[in-house]
């Protein structure tokens, strides 16, 4: 930037006038172009910095689980782990099915029939997350001898949520029924693939 006019103060450097006469100086153009390119680049860099906190490939690879349900007797439940959270798999007794079906949907906070919460032809196999929809505690009732609440399903001891035999919320602070994850039975109905 050789300034040979003899005056050295920067603000006295002759302003570059543009050749086209449309009022945009070459320097303004370069300035805006450079700052925009840097800005876009800077924002692009944020993407990996944010994305790295999302579940990594090994976590995503663990996000389906297979469970053999053939040995579960009516009235019995087992716990499995799905995405690091408890999964309840319960084979309902006929009495429990009848009890669930007897409730009018209008009485429910989160209206859903047992049919809607199970697979066709497998109405007795109730598969839900073992995660209370209030604040995430594990409800009691899956293991032998645990309290099952006033409605005979699951009972969350943290703040007293009662779930019925179809694991629907009936009483207490939880807003919705225990979540039914995506799952599928294999051809002979002995193994479910969850996730």
């Amino acid at each position: 930037m050789a300034d040979t006019t003899g005056t050295a103060t920067p603000d006295m450097v002759a302003p570059e006038t543009d050749a086209t006469g449309d009022g945009v100086r070459r320097r303004d153009f370069i300035n805006i172009a450079a700052v925009s390119a840097a800005g876009v680049g800077g924002i692009a860099v944020l993407y990996p910095l944010i994305s790295q906190m999302a579940p990594s490939a090994d976590v995503l690879a663990e996000s389906t689980v297979e469970v053999d349900v053939s040995a579960i007797e009516p009235g019995q439940a087992i716990k499995a782990i799905f995405r690091k959270q408890p999964l309840f798999l319960r084979r309902l007794t006929d009495a429990e099915i009848a009890e669930a079906d007897a409730v009018p949907l209008s009485d429910l906070r989160d209206p859903q029939s047992l049919e809607e919460r199970t697979k066709a032809g497998q109405k007795a196999m109730l598969i839900t997350m073992g995660v209370c929809t209030h604040l995430g505690c594990v409800p009691l009732g899956a293991a032998e001898g645990e309290a099952r609440g006033e409605y005979g399903g699951y009972f969350c001891p943290c703040h007293g949520s009662h779930y019925d035999t179809a694991a629907r919320i009936r009483k207490g602070p939880a807003p919705t029924n225990l979540l039914v994850p995506d799952y599928e039975f294999n051809a002979d109905g002995t193994v479910v693939t969850v996730g």
């Binding site: 003899g6 050295a8 790295q52 999302a54």
Partner: protein, 429 residues
């Protein structure tokens, strides 16, 4: 402090006025790296490396904090968690390559920044404190880089840790207990790995603190410049912003192109394949060398092969540490009142000889410890010490410098109307 003609911060926006009254942080930035900081108008591209070093520090802290979110500092899983970062974590491969190559580029920038200081006499009065703090930063960076290199827990990590802590073991009497204390065991293991991780996380923030002192000290006399003539008046300076933000921005762009070339196209070019083998205390790799940025000092360490009063091992360790510690004394070893090598014909020659010598040490530090490399290391090491301890003091007393320009303005424009006194200034020098 700043020059009396510095622009004053005068916020127009009512919100900025309000903030300025309560917390004058924008004012601080304005006066530190904004239009309120007058800088010599003649800085060349060698003066970009300070800002680039700051950028590298931020880059290393950002990528490092992210890597620490995924890394596990336990000898059982450290190597596996590093591979987990490379294979599983979203963009983990990129972040780790950015961090590893970021260290190399950080040192590249630091070396150029230091050599710039050698050439333009940046260490001379009144800037001794800036220089001393700079050497402290360099030492902290070396410690941080070394401990970071141990974390992946590969073969080079393990044996690097063993060899470097072995340096302390060479100290007479206290050496061995000291080494065991440093490692928390007889060889690098979980205890060493954990403390290295803790310190590797801490030290960058200590570096950032010393960097603030370094910049603070810099802002008292202001920057040197290629003439070495102090700023005398307003026409010698331009405001940092926009003149040097633009110039540093351009330098940053060039730097990033080079850096990305490594990160994306040859990310392992500066590393050692052996570090992709998990640490094995029972087998030493054929060639143990540190990362390239430690080569000159590693060459000096290995140059001592014979006992002379003290053991060869101890000489090597002492020489290696003094090779850097000597820089602390440079402001007093070089007595020449002329700063810039541009006006010191004799010193300039020896500066370039030192650069050749450094290049040789860089090469020899990575070579096998066998002849003829050992002999060359010895010669290069001898010259290195000769330069600082003998050549620099003698040159500064016998040299006849070239006449200095009266002012930066004169150097840039070829004339300065205030320059009637210029003749006497040149004669004094």
């Amino acid at each position: 402090m700043s020059f009396p003609w510095a622009n004053h911060y005068e916020p127009q926006n009512p919100l900025m006025k309000w903030v300025d009254e309560k917390l004058p942080l924008p004012r601080l930035v304005y006066n530190a790296v904004g239009a309120g900081y007058p800088v010599p108008r003649n800085l060349n591209y060698m003066y970009n490396f300070g800002v680039l070093a700051g950028f590298c520090l931020v880059l290393q802290i950002v990528t490092g904090v992210i890597l620490a979110m995924h890394y596990a500092p336990n000898a059982l899983v450290a190597f596996g968690s590093t591979e987990h970062i490379m294979r599983n974590v979203n963009w983990g491969w990129m972040l780790r390559y950015m961090h590893a190559n970021g260290a190399s580029f950080f040192f590249l920038v630091l070396y150029l920044h230091i050599f710039r200081g050698f050439y333009y006499g940046s260490y001379k009065a009144p800037r001794e404190m800036i220089w001393l703090l700079g050497v402290v930063i360099f030492l902290l960076c070396m410690a941080t880089a070394f401990m970071g290199y141990v974390l992946p827990w590969g073969q080079m990590s393990f044996w690097g840790a063993k060899v470097i802590t072995g340096l302390f073991g060479a100290i007479p009497l206290v050496g061995e207990p000291l080494q065991i204390w440093l490692l928390g065991g007889y060889a690098p293991d979980n205890a060493a790995l954990n403390r290295f991780f803790s310190l590797h996380f801490l030290l960058p923030f200590v570096i950032a603190g010393v960097v603030i002192l370094h910049i603070w000290a810099l802002h008292i006399p202001g920057s040197t410049n290629p003439t070495g003539v102090e700023v005398k008046k307003e026409s010698d300076t331009v405001p940092f912003h926009p003149y040097y933000t633009a110039k540093d921005g351009f330098g940053l762009g060039v730097f990033l192109i080079l850096y990305c070339l490594f990160v994306f196209f040859m990310p392992n070019a500066l590393g050692h394949p052996d570090n992709y083998i998990e640490a094995n205390p029972l087998s030493t790799p054929a060639l143990i060398v540190p990362e390239w940025y430690f080569y000159p000092f590693y060459a000096i360490l290995r140059a001592f092969t014979f006992d002379f009063i003290l053991t060869a091992q101890l000489w090597g360790v002492l020489a290696m540490f003094s090779a850097i510690l000597m820089w602390f004394f440079l402001p007093w070893l070089d007595r020449s009142p002329v700063r810039s090598a541009s006006y010191r014909p004799l010193y300039r020659i020896f500066f370039w000889v030192l650069m050749v010598d450094m290049a040789a040490l860089f090469y020899l530090g990575g070579a096998h410890a066998e002849e003829p490399y050992i002999m060359f290391s010895q010669l290069a090491t001898a010259y290195y010490f000769l330069h600082f301890l003998v050549i620099v003091p003698i040159v500064s007393s016998i040299e006849r410098p070239k006449p200095l320009p009266y002012s930066i303005t004169e150097a840039v424009l070829g004339k300065d109307d205030d320059a009637q006194l210029g003749a006497t200034v040149a004669a004094k020098a």
